[in-house]
């Protein structure tokens, strides 16, 4: 018995190949997301919403 997922991932994954290197699209998405989030965390300005800006 199982509550059905909204997006069913229980099927064979798609793989990307490059020379001897291969990775599932899901893992690639995770890695790309990590790089994007890392870059965004540095790039997006950090502004405080309440008082307490730099003195």
């Amino acid at each position: 018995m199982d509550l059905a997922a909204i997006v069913n991932l229980n099927h064979p994954a798609t793989y990307v190949h490059w020379h001897f290197f291969q990775m599932s699209v899901s893992n690639l998405v995770v890695i790309v997301l990590m790089i994007v989030v890392f870059a965004a965390a540095i790039a997006v300005p950090f502004r405080r919403h309440h008082e307490g800006d730099e003195q």
């Binding site: 509550l3 990590m34 989030v37 890392f38 965004a40 965390a41 997006v44 950090f46 730099e54 003195q55």
Partner: protein, 231 residues
């Protein structure tokens, strides 16, 4: 009416009191204002700084969902929808945990955050990362499904090759489950606590100095250094 508090002179611990000595040491090493400060240096001004606390939050959700799974035993999640749901939370929290931890590691690396006597902070962080991988591994082989069968029968070769298979049998579900539920979480949490205490003790690492700002600084603040930078 209660007695008034003893005078400061009376509070002087007797030299032989271990309790007092431990308390004094603890308060000296970590005064409350340092353990829980309500201000931070102004240079903590980037979203990159939140990934440490996001990693801790992920670990908390892992442990919380793990407690629920543990309360009902290892077979529960295979045959109830609620059980499967908590297994899903546990799995996705693990993905988020490693996601945030690695971003945190990248950030601390590019900040050279080990400077200024903070090498132990870096090292406890790396060891936490490595032990977390082992903790996750014991979880994967405790799933009691095909994935755990495959991972265990494959991983045994690597572990046996190092000799560790003599006392760490990944095919032994009881042993792996014990490591996963108790032994390794205790180690991970202990390391994370040590890591955080070191961060509080040493403070957040200051920014790397830019040379033009170093040169321009008034002489009282390292004029020799500025002079030596003259091109």
């Amino acid at each position: 009416m209660t007695e008034p508090a003893p005078s400061p002179a009376a509070k002087q611990p007797a030299p032989s009191s271990w309790t007092a000595r431990v308390r004094e040491w603890g308060v000296r090493a970590m005064p409350p204002e340092r353990l829980l400060p309500d201000s931070q240096p102004a240079y903590m001004s980037s979203w990159i700084y939140i990934f440490g606390v996001l990693t801790i939050a992920s670990l908390t959700v892992i442990i919380g969902s793990g407690v629920v799974l543990g309360l009902k035993g290892p077979a529960w999640w295979h045959y109830t929808g609620v059980g499967h749901f908590f297994n899903s939370i546990h799995l996705w929290a693990v993905e988020l945990f490693f996601f945030c931890m690695v971003i945190h590691l990248w950030a601390k690396f590019f900040m050279a955050a080990w400077r200024g006597g903070r090498s132990r902070t870096w090292m406890t962080g790396v060891i936490s990362f490595l032990i977390s991988i082992v903790a996750a591994f014991t979880g994967y082989v405790s799933q009691q499904n095909f994935d755990s069968q495959w991972i265990a029968t494959q991983a045994k070769d690597g572990i046996n090759a190092t000799g560790a298979g003599a006392f760490f049998n990944v095919l032994n579900f009881g042993q792996m489950y014990s490591y996963h539920l108790l032994l390794l979480p205790v180690v991970v949490v202990g390391l994370v606590v040590a890591h955080i205490l070191l961060v509080r003790r040493n403070g957040i690492v200051p920014p790397l100095p830019l040379s033009d700002l170093v040169k321009a600084r008034p002489a009282a603040d390292g004029g020799e250094r500025a002079a030596s930078q003259a091109r």
